[in-house]
Amino acid sequence: MSLPLEELLRLEPEDILAHNERPKADDLRDKQQIFYEDVEEGMELPKYIYSPTPTHLFRWSAAIENFHRIHYDLDFGLNHDKNPSILVHGSWKQSVVPQFLKDWTLPKGWPWKAQFEHRAMLVPGDILIMWGKVTSKYEKGQMGFIELEIGMMTQDGIESMPGTATVVLPLRDGPDIPYPFVPPAD
């Protein structure tokens, strides 16, 4: 059951994990289109919940060839940079954002734009909640534009990545969103 973010944060960390709405491969294969008309201000997107371990961090460092020791060398992180542990990568959080927006707009919408800041040091053991909430919507060029507030919050309610995003959804009786995406002229 999808819980509002506010209610989710009242749960114990292990109970928060039970509300993970990250889709599996078959969910993405069978994803039904959300149309512009289906969206209302205040609507929350499915929340993606992560519990990163040192192994997840190491796998990300290796995948993107990021050699910064603060992400995998605990001794260096504690004693050289005086961090509380090894740190979750900002680049990983940044890569979750387009995935999160893509999944919500599939199969024919478009995750156009996002902007966000990096705050707070995230460490293994944190529960991380990728969330999004509709703030407004408008039609333009036979496309539906949805403005979102987004973020990645810890189990303690600390917002580590406050931001906004703009995604594009098809109108129920409208044409497909062009691919490659071409925004309408101002």
Binding site: R22, P23, H56, A63, I64, R69, P111, H118
Partner: protein, 183 residues
């Protein structure tokens, strides 16, 4: 800004706004194995990344790749350059592992004596998913440099570096902007 505050946005710093680097061809091409490693690391199981038949039936008509993956492809250390990781630790056994690693296409440094660097935020604009086999070309540019004054009364800079990614057909793939605070 108070009279006591010395401006960090000097004419030399301001002159860096709009400065672009060379258009650089990233090493290698977008390939299925890198796609597998990347999507597993970001934990995105979307079959559009690996199921050829299904991908061909979708809106995109082919296997797609995450838009931001090209930014890491672009920052790969080229095999025809000296190994910067080994060199970094030869020069400084306490190296943080990243400070001395040269990446292709870097911009000239902003001439400021503000040395402390903090991440201020990121922007993404996405236009097309890279295709398997794409060659990626990228170009960096200082798109904005602004001055702010901190609570301590000292001026600091917010420097935004924009990177544009295109493929071999000159299709625009995505634009990223990374802002850093220099204190």
């Amino acid at each position: 800004m108070t009279q006591e505050t010395q401006s960090a946005l000097t004419p030399e710093v301001r002159a860096m706004i709009g400065v672009s680097g060379d258009v650089v061809e990233a090493w290698g091409v977008v390939d299925a194995e890198y796609l597998r490693r990347f999507t597993q690391a970001v934990m995105d199981p979307d079959p559009r990344y690996w199921d050829q038949d299904f991908a061909e039936s979708t809106h995109y008509g082919e296997i797609i790749t995450p838009p931001i993956m090209v930014s890491y492809l672009a920052s790969r250390i080229r095999p025809d350059q000296d190994d910067p990781v080994t060199r970094a630790f030869e020069e400084n056994p306490e190296s943080d592992g990243i400070g001395s690693v040269e990446r292709p296409g870097e911009l000239p440094p902003v001439p400021t004596n503000l040395m402390r660097v903090l991440n201020a935020g990121n922007e993404l604009e996405i236009y097309k998913y890279p295709s398997i086999g794409d060659t990626v070309f990228f170009q960096n540019r200082y798109s904005d440099i602004r001055e702010r004054v901190g609570r301590d009364g000292r001026a600091f800079l917010i420097i935004t570096r924009e990177t544009t990614y295109r493929n071999q057909n000159d299709d625009l793939l995505c634009i990223t902007r990374a802002s850093t605070i220099r204190r």
